[in-house]
């Protein structure tokens, strides 16, 4: 695998022993297929910063279950109905994902959206997932900050100083989604911890995944948060090209044509070696 970034295998991680992230209660919503196929891996859906499990519960959760996979949507700490965590850092979010994944009966497919895709990418380097799916991945960095600022200076400016970034509906969704829905979703967003938000000012370089899982990267060339080049850069880390959904916004999970990316993921999962 031609992953960029840290190539060395890291064996010694004393911090994982000496400073384990605090235990919290985490929200997990589940949808089961009518007939469980033992060969189908469970799917764990990780929302982006600001979202909770609710975002997947709108459409994807049931749809993926209908396509034959046991689907689980979680809320990172400080999000949705998980316990509050005002000081959470990226490591704590990664811990949350792996805790839920390791609690599933079999090796899980990790799906992450937005900055949740970054959390998933980091989780992939600590837990040998069945597969990884990165949807409109936000890996942070100057480019992300700049495009946020250009499109929504008022909402994004505080982020530079560790404040809460506010995303407008039109940054997230295409025009195909009704203004009412777009507004409703955008209003439900609640900021992640400032520490985690601040981590996105720098570009994050997740370590190489363990166990060499198949990885899929999806996005839209018309995403107003993740530039196409940024999307391609992420895909390139895994030696693949992104799967594109032109005309959709950043939020492939809630946008009007949500079914297309969800089906693409399921089709891909059905073909896993």
């Amino acid at each position: 695998m031609t992953t960029r970034g840290v190539q060395r295998t890291r064996v010694v991680r004393p911090i994982e022993c000496t400073q384990p992230p605090a235990s919290v209660r985490r929200e997990v919503l589940a949808a089961r297929p009518e007939v469980e196929n033992p060969a189908s891996p469970p799917v764990l859906l990780v929302p982006g910063f600001g979202y909770g499990a609710w975002a997947y519960a709108e459409h994807w959760l049931d749809h993926i279950a209908e396509r034959g996979f046991a689907a689980h949507a979680m809320s990172l700490r400080g999000h949705g109905r998980s316990d509050a965590a005002p000081d959470a850092d990226l490591r704590a979010y990664v811990h949350d994902v792996i805790q839920i994944a390791a609690g599933l009966p079999r090796q899980a497919v990790l799906v992450g959206h937005g900055a949740g895709a970054l959390v998933v990418a980091m989780a992939l380097s600590r837990y040998p997932a069945r597969a990884g799916v990165l949807v409109s991945p936000v890996f942070g960095g100057f480019g992300t900050a700049l495009s946020l600022l250009r499109r929504n200076p008022v909402g994004a400016f505080p982020g530079l100083f560790g404040g809460t970034v506010r995303l407008g509906p039109r940054q997230l969704f295409s025009r195909a989604l009704s203004t009412a829905s777009a507004r409703e979703y955008a209003d439900r967003l609640a900021g992640p911890s400032r520490r985690a938000q601040r981590a996105l000012v720098r570009r994050q370089e997740p370590e190489r995944p363990v166990g060499d899982p198949p990885v899929l990267v999806l996005g839209s060339p018309d995403d107003r948060m993740v530039a196409r080049t940024a999307l391609e850069q992420v895909a390139e880390r895994y030696g693949i090209a992104p799967l594109l959904f032109p005309g959709m916004g950043h939020d492939l999970v809630l946008d009007a044509r949500w079914r297309e990316p969800a089906d693409a993921i399921c089709d891909w999962l059905l073909k896993l070696p």
Partner: protein
């Protein structure tokens, strides 16, 4: 590298009049305790087909209390804290306590086996009785596939099924080292009329009630049993032949192994780190001689750490009476080294275990005359690169992490041996120096008990280097 023949072995080879079923490139793993499970998972992850043989009918090894052979009695709680005790890529639930019970450890290992689909590769109730080189004179690094680097493994069903010989490309021995009791001998022991058992036969407190008990040995087992006894019997003598450091489970409100790792990763000279640790322990535990124990005869970390918060407490309550070594046994009494005579009803020898490799000729791991094997990285037989022993270690903490990375290294090594034998040979020769290393920052005594003692930090750093070195030659 999965071999299609593997699923339907055909015997075309014969050995001593018996058919040999060639399993092609399949790797054999002996034992489905924590180490064996890690080996199966990591070999599978590298694409190898695996046949694992487990004598018992369940996974878990030392933690499988149902087998009745495990060394961990019902009252055992881990001495390593949860984040240090788990596999690095499969955490325990973080709402478990700092020091989980032995039943939780078993549940965890069962979950690991299910999560990664390992059971389908394990043959339960099957004993490995012999492991022999397939070829006449195997030595040095050979490309995989040459007959001499392969192994003939004889297996036999526990319920008396006939035995069979299978041929494998490589073997991982993960048979655990806490099964064969180390039974000390004493003058007069044969004529002693009281009951004597080894700690491995100790199941729980009910065995002790109403008895005067003598516990021999102050490893973690001896201390755990003495504490059990201190709570239910009127008299428990606890005999140890030297002074030790008794670390409590918590220091400054943190699990002691976590604190130790903090100190060991400080950028300070080793002497200063040691002074810091010993000072913290003195503050937490105080002067042991006040309790009738001997002062430690070594620096901290120079012998296997004892972690027990309750022993000192039990001594303070009078439930446990520390006594010196045993001089000799009489018909009904025991004379101690200081001349005292005591009359126990039950003597429990918590004197540790001896590793055995009854299925291997002694020359293979150099275990002739009862010697303990010396392996490269405590892992691989120096002149048999397709044979590894996983889990033959006594780390200060994190034994599962050590077994995990051992099996990752070995799986990677087999891969390189297969794809780039030339470079594999170079790598192997370059690391010959690893054979004599002790992997500890302290001067651990070279007694048999400490043959496998490592600092997990020093050891894992060495494995990290070897792994990355191996990646570079891939």
């Amino acid at each position: 590298m999965t071999n299609d023949n593997a699923t339907a072995p055909v015997a075309a080879i014969w050995r001593g009049g018996e058919p040999v079923y060639d399993r092609g490139e399949t790797v054999c793993v002996i034992g489905a305790g924590a180490s064996g499970l890690a080996a199966v998972k990591n070999l599978r992850e590298q694409g190898f087909a695996v046949d694992c043989y487990e004598r018992e009918t369940a996974v878990g090894g030392a933690w499988n209390a149902r087998s009745g052979r495990g060394p961990a009695p019902a009252s055992t709680h881990l001495i390593t804290s949860r984040p240090c005790a788990q596999f690095p890529d499969f955490p325990m639930p973080d709402d478990w306590p700092d020091f989980p019970r032995h039943t939780q450890m078993l549940a965890y290992l069962e979950r690991y086996a299910d999560h990664f689909g390992l059971r389908e590769h394990i043959w339960f109730g099957t004993d490995v009785v012999r492991v022999e080189p397939a070829g006449p004179e195997p030595s040095g690094v050979r490309p995989a596939g040459e007959p001499s680097s392969r192994w003939d493994v004889s297996i036999s069903g526990q319920r008396g099924g006939s035995s069979r010989i299978m041929r494998y490309a490589a073997v991982v021995v993960a048979n655990g080292h806490a099964f064969l009791p180390n039974r000390p001998s004493y003058e007069g022991l044969a004529g002693y009329r009281g009951q004597t058992i080894h700690a491995s036969e100790y199941q729980g407190r009910s065995q002790l009630r109403g008895k005067r008990v003598l516990v021999v040995g102050a490893g973690n087992t001896g201390c755990d049993i003495a504490v059990d006894a201190g709570q239910v019997v009127t008299t428990c003598w606890h005999s140890s032949r030297r002074g030790y450091w008794y670390a409590p489970k918590y220091v400054l409100g943190r699990p002691v192994d976590q604190l130790a790792i903090r100190v060991q990763t400080m950028r300070l000279p080793q002497r200063l780190r040691r002074a810091l640790t010993q000072r913290a322990l003195r503050l937490a535990v105080g002067d042991l001689t006040r309790f009738g124990l001997r002062a430690p005869d070594h620096h901290f970390a120079e012998s296997h750490p004892i972690v027990n918060s309750q022993l000192i407490y039990q001594i303070g309550h009078g439930g446990v009476v520390p006594v010196p070594d045993i001089a000799r046994f009489g018909r009904t009494d025991v004379t101690l080294a200081d001349g005292r005579v005591i009359e126990p009803d039950l003597v429990i020898f918590a004197t540790g275990y001896v590793p055995t490799f009854e299925f291997l000729e002694p020359d293979i791991l150099k275990t002739g005359g009862g010697a303990r094997p010396r392996l490269r990285w405590h892992l691989a037989a120096p002149d048999r690169p397709t044979l590894a022993v996983v889990g033959l270690l006594q780390p200060d903490t994190a034994p599962l992490a050590c077994a995990h990375w051992q099996s990752v290294l070995f799986a990677n090594w087999l891969r390189v041996l297969d794809t780039a034998p030339e470079r594999a040979r170079e790598f192997w020769d370059r690391h010959a120096g690893a054979d004599e290393r002790r992997y500890h920052f302290a001067k651990v005594s070279d007694s048999p008990r400490h043959r496998f003692e490592v600092s997990h930090l020093v050891y894992l750093r060495a494995l990290e280097q070897a792994l990355n070195d191996l990646e570079a030659v891939k």
